[in-house]
Symmetry: C2
Subunit: 505 residues, 2 copies
């Protein structure tokens, strides 16, 4: 320390010519970016021809690439060619119309363009002045989406609440949990953090436990209340009340409830209104995780799943799943953003300005985990909402659901298969039936084998889950390029592989 190489650089200034290598010559940029556009358009045209699940083995890329970076420049064309040769074979193609795994990561031309502009401006909108348009456009699109979801005014900037774009449901849940935690600890004292309890079901997304632990909630106070197949894996308000009562009896302090609209395993729907009625008796912060299912609620016919939303404190959903926005785009609305701000606020001198000091503007840095890092993501949603219009976005959801219904009917038409859990959105949970005389573990083995065979073809990719002790396959329609014939083809592959397995066993 204390010995910086202060003026070393001036010893040979002539050797340094900043012109030698232009970082961002607009003309070079133009040429390279046009080439990249054609590369990407070709990828989108050809993606269907690639194995949807990458067929490489661990180490494939590490072993192909040098151990150290080059000292001198490589050409743009070489690198782009290497993307084709080295990278694409190692990609599991979420864009493929034959991708039916997990939940979708849906996309659109409109959001792509919005993302290009986000990258272009590279505005770091941590507070209003750092890029006023970034803050204000985010406020506008969050209110637009709130209108589409028929959220009460209490969640909107035009009312008494507000929304923010986060990278993930985890971040959204973490921010609200910390706000809830600090509100309660302000009353009962930070030394009581070990008495706080959070509530979810055994179907709540794994991030719920992770986020609870990050926030310092003792792992033994993170409740995962059992659900039942008979309830279609929804969290029962009765069970919730019983668990809370037992905790209160023990001197614990109920803090936070995570309600899910469309769980990851089976798209179960927790009943918001009845759960909130229970929770509110104990002053619990209620957060609704609509990461996947919430997107469908822009359609009036799905909106009933949000009934009771006026009773909760916060809601998040992820356009990066089912609203065509590309990755890391999660919406969070809160009734009282000030609670999050008071938990997460920072106020360093070097970020102060007359607007931030007057509290007349939103400083989004205080609505998120990051101190200042922040991209201008609202451009994606603005481009998307305007390019589609609300009606086409609703039709997009309905089109996926229609294809899922078609798949469901195909499954039902084959006596060897069964639907395990009623379909709610565009996820179909199914399996090879358990026939008389075969035990459970044998049926599970058959279904595992089926999944492995199907995925190893590279022609289709789907995944599995276990709920209520039952192993089942998950088939989700939602990849942007999927059309009816892809669904029909997927079913053909599944049937074909089922034939080979049934013959073997």
């Amino acid at each position: 320390m204390g010995s910086p190489p202060s003026d070393f650089i001036m010893t040979s200034p002539e050797s340094l010519d900043s012109k030698e290598f232009m970082h961002l010559n607009p003309q070079d940029f133009r040429g390279q970016a046009h080439k990249a556009v054609d590369f990407i358009a070709d990828y989108y045209k050809n993606v269907e021809t690639y194995p949807v699940l990458s067929q490489v083995q661990p180490g494939f890329l590490k072993n192909r690439l040098p151990k150290t970076p080059p000292n001198t420049p490589e050409s743009f064309d070489t690198i782009l060619q290497d993307v084709q040769t080295d990278i694409i074979p190692g990609i599991t193609h979420w864009l493929s119309p034959n991708f039916f795994a997990y939940f979708p990561a849906s996309v659109s031309s409109a959001a792509f363009i919005g993302e290009m502009l986000c990258t272009c401006f590279n505005a770091v909108g941590f507070n209003w002045l750092a890029s006023p348009a970034a803050t204000e456009l985010e406020m506008v699109v969050m209110d637009w989406l709130a209108v589409m979801l028929q959220l009460p005014k209490t969640f909107m900037f035009s009312g008494s609440g507000g929304g923010v774009l986060q990278s993930s449901t985890s971040e959204s849940t973490l921010c609200t949990l910390v706000a809830a935690r600090d509100r309660v600890l302000d009353e009962i004292g930070i030394e009581n953090i070990g008495r706080l309890v959070v509530y979810g079901s055994d179907q709540t997304h794994a991030m719920y436990k992770k986020v609870g632990k990050i926030a310092g909630i003792p792992p033994h106070n993170i409740r995962c209340i059992p659900t039942r197949m008979e309830d279609e894996f929804a969290l029962s308000p009765y069970s919730l009340r019983k668990v809370i009562e037992a905790d209160v009896e023990q001197g614990l302090v109920p803090l936070f409830l995570c309600v899910t609209v469309g769980t990851t395993s089976t798209t179960a729907i927790d009943p918001i209104k009845d759960l909130a009625d229970v929770a509110k008796k104990y002053n619990i912060w209620v957060h609704v995780d609509g990461a996947y299912g919430g997107n469908a609620c822009i359609c009036p016919e799905y909106r009933p799943f949000l009934d009771g939303i006026e009773k909760v404190d916060s809601l998040s959903l992820s356009p990066h799943k089912w609203l065509l926005s590309y990755g890391e785009c999660c919406c969070l609305w809160m009734k009282n953003p000030n609670l999050v701000v008071s938990a997460l606020r920072t106020d360093p001198e070097y970020l102060k300005n007359k607007h931030s000091e007057s509290d007349s503007v939103v400083s989004y840095k205080d609505w998120q985990v990051a101190g200042t890092a922040r991209r201008f993501k609202s451009l994606r949603l603005w481009f998307l909402l305007r390019s589609y219009g609300v009606e086409n976005l609703q039709n997009h959801i309905r089109s996926d659901v229609r294809m899922a219904i078609m798949f469901e009917r195909l499954v039902k038409s084959d006596v060897r298969f069964e639907i395990v859990v009623p379909r709610r959105f565009a996820l179909v949970c199914f399996r090879l039936k358990q026939f008389n005389g075969f035990d459970t573990s044998y049926t599970e083995l058959l279904n595992k084998k089926l999944l492995e065979r199907v995925n190893s073809t590279g022609r289709v990719y789907l995944t599995h889950t276990v709920a209520g002790g039952v192993y089942m396959l998950r088939f989700v329609v939602g990849a942007t390029l999927t059309e009816e014939h892809h669904v029909i083809n997927a079913w053909e592959v599944i049937k074909e592989m089922a034939n080979t397995i049934v013959n073997e066993f």
Copy 2:
């Protein structure tokens, strides 16, 4: 609950035609994206002509845009035109060569192309199988950067450690803090969370306190040890030891130390080696925050600032600041990633596969806050490192430093001004001197006035800080398009405004 609109959609299937609106018709995409490229190239060409600090007033955009989203599509050309008309006037142009505020958010054609491809593939690489190339390329580039920084093998995959791309320094610090916390709580019991203490200086980034609070560290146990102007605002190992000893005396448990290479206010450099020597006596996790300054350490002449790095547990730095990568790109290396994994690991059935089960591959979801959300950001760095080569990246740092030195000399050449803190990297901290007979507050007022005048011209943007009680202006060279004449011009604007102020007072 329990009453989904199950087959409602089939009542009028004919009214829905998924072909009406193509989400991602490759031909439409190609046309729109080419237009966007030209728009962006023009922006880069013209950005210098815009006021660098947006001159709009709060509400400007909210008042221009409709309160609700459109029901039907608007044309691509209309929306792009609105970017020019509505958005650009509200942007503070971080890309402008006249941007000298905060720390830079530097960019490059290469990273732009990498980001386009990241968006294109939209691969959600939460575990290896979900996109093998996404996981492996990230491992490769993290090792490449480690080589460039001459990190010990203990931080590399090719050794016994490993690295990960995060969105922000906050996220990096949070993940390591939680790992450190859980390691200690496993020993002393979670009920002792209130005894944990974390250490930084009064110059440590504001995110440090925020992250500590998120992780459940009691705010009164978050130490911000005072620094002194005489020490150039570096954290003194002696002071650290005294504070730790006092805490231990009180029965508290020292947990975590955040060391900074290049603080935000004045780019102070905490002495890693000596601080780590103190911390390690108490088994404290030492994290080095090199968000800005760490980037310079790819140059051998700056590498001494990392001396002692072999003694610490983790290091983060942000290419989104000074390594041309665009936003939300922070690198985190750890000696023992397993500690982070064991703190953050989730293991839901629906993400299991034979590779994740065998623990033979990295599952990056367990190295981050998000449960599954994750973009293929390593493509940016891969494109960047190969397009530049190490030498040009070093020259890029040196070129910015050379321009900062030039500015520093200009300031020194004017008797009215003074350099307040010795320059370390490309930040110059300066002010109008305090002349005999004027008191401190008057000098501060003059400098505030100067800053306001300079920024209101829209010709230059710089910011301020206060350290050691002294209000000073910060001038950072680092915007990608900045050349020497922009620095000279900035100095002219500053002098001109200083003239008007001195005449007035």
